[in-house]
Each structure stands twice: as C-alpha cells, then as structure tokens.
C-alpha cells in the first residue's frame, strides 16, 4: 500500500464530491447519501475491492468506504450464515464506528454550545 495512491484516490473521491456540490444543486447530505449507496453498489459488483486493495484508507475513509464496509460485511455474512447474514453482517462490521459516532457525538453535543462561524 502506497501513500501516493492513498492520497490520489482519497483526494479524488473528495474532488468528485466537490464538483457534485458546485456544479449540481445537490446539497452535502445528498452527496453523502449518494456516496454511501454508490460505495455499496460498487462493492456488490466487485468493483470497489480492487480500489481498497490499491489505496487502503484512501478508499475506506471517504464515505463510499462506509458503504463498502456495510456491503462487504453483509456479503461475507451471507456466504457464512445464509440469508440472515444479509441483515446482521453490515451493521456488525460497522458497529464500532457507528456506536462511537453516536455515543461520543451525544456527549459532545451535550457538553458544547453552538458557536457562530468565525
């Protein structure tokens, strides 16, 4: 795994997002949703795994990587446990990140007050 590829792929995915936000009327949340679903679909088609092998965190840290983890978890669980795996696998594999985001996010939201943009 090369830092150069990590940088190029990671940055490239962000550029796609930036262009989508600038050129079309897609707002940030829509871009996020689009990316997660796109990551999942590409993983299902077997097209995202090679990118992950090439770029490592460059492909897993941007949001398509979240869709990748979800779908990969579901696919792995299906091959091991059958149909129920489709329901359990995705959330199981992303549980750490989601739980951390919920718990820590809640704590931060309760401890800090909103500030205006500087």
């Amino acid at each position: 795994m090369d830092y150069v590829w990590t940088f190029i792929i990671g940055g490239g995915i962000c550029v796609i997002g930036q262009i989508l936000m600038d050129a079309t009327k897609l707002t940030a949340p829509r871009v996020l949703v689009l990316f997660v679903v796109l990551g999942g679909v590409l993983t299902g088609l077997g097209l995202y795994q090679p990118i992950v092998e090439l770029a490592g965190t460059g492909a897993t840290v941007p949001l398509p990587g979240f869709g990748y983890s979800l779908t990969k978890g579901a696919m792995n669980a299906v091959s091991k446990e059958g149909l129920m795996g489709a329901l359990t696998g995705g959330i199981k594999d992303t549980a750490a990140g989601v739980a951390a985001a919920i718990v820590f996010g809640y704590i931060v939201a309760l401890c800090f007050n909103p500030k205006s943009i500087r």
């Binding site: 840290v61 995705g90 959330i91």
Partner: protein, 159 residues
C-alpha cells in the same frame, strides 16, 4: 368587456414574468460563480491528507501489534471523535468553508453532521432535542446505506 379584462390580466402576467426573468439575470450578475478549479484543488489536498494521516496512524497501530482490521476500526473511531470534538469547539465550519468536500466526504463529515444539529437543538431538551437531532443528517445516510447493503446481501444470497 370580458375579453378586454382577460387580455389585460394576461398582459400583466407576462409583464410579471418578464420582470422575474430580468431580476433573475440581475441577481446572476452578482452571485459569484463557484470556483471549480480552486475548490477542487483544496478538496483534493485536504481529503487526500486526511486519508494519508489515517493510513499512517493505521500502520503505527499495526506496528504495535494490532491486527489490520482492528487497527482500521480504531482509526475510524479516532477520526470520528476528532471531527466531533472539533465540531464541538466550533472549528469545523471554518475548516469546511476552506476545504469543502475535502472534510465533508471523508468520515469526518458524517461525524460532524451528527454533532452540529444535535448541538443546535440543545434547547429542546436532551431527548427530543439533541437525542433526536443527532440523526437529522446521519439518519438518511444510515437508512440508505444499510438498506443498500441488506438488499445487495439478499441478491448475493439468491444468486
């Protein structure tokens, strides 16, 4: 008589339409067109840097004896917590103003999208305010992402 008033109405409508169009043109003159190139460069550099930093941290953890997937999870958690803390201090919007998609597309943007509305709606209480608003933006992402993954899992099972 009836026709005349109808014509007058239509004329008025047309005039209004023209005025609206003229106004639109006038507004367009003053709205700055987005700087595609410089925005993209900023997003590229910042987004790429975040990914490289994540990769570096993962390798450091692996050198200390963590398994690869475990190290990956720890890095994700670290990124999320950092982004949420930065949001809490009120610095995230400043950074996002500069970097745009560079910080929104990585998992940091997802983390920020949970804390920001939760903080904003604190006044409505810890349950229906912060607790509910934590998912205003993260909800759609989770709903669509999980739905997609389950559907793909079922398709794979059927194939």
């Amino acid at each position: 008589m009836g026709n005349a008033s109808k014509d007058a109405k239509e004329q008025k409508k047309n005039e209004q339409k023209q005025q609206a169009k003229a106004y639109e043109k006038y507004v367009k003159k003053f709205t700055p067109s987005p700087k595609y190139f410089s925005n993209s460069v900023k997003a590229f550099v910042v987004g790429g840097s975040i990914c490289v930093a994540a990769s570096y941290t993962q390798e450091m953890l692996m050198a200390r004896g963590f398994e690869k997937t475990e190290a990956g999870s720890i890095v994700t958690v670290l990124l999320i917590c950092t982004a949420q803390l930065i949001t809490g201090f009120g610095w995230f919007d400043t950074i996002a103003k500069f970097a745009g998609a560079g910080v929104i597309v990585p998992i940091t943007g997802f983390a920020n999208s949970m804390v920001a509305p939760a903080m904003e709606f604190k006044k409505e209480g810890p349950v229906l305010g912060s607790g509910a608003k934590l998912f205003t933006l993260a909800g759609p992402v989770l709903v669509c992402g999980i739905s997609a993954s389950v559907i793909i899992g079922i398709i794979i099972y059927l194939l």
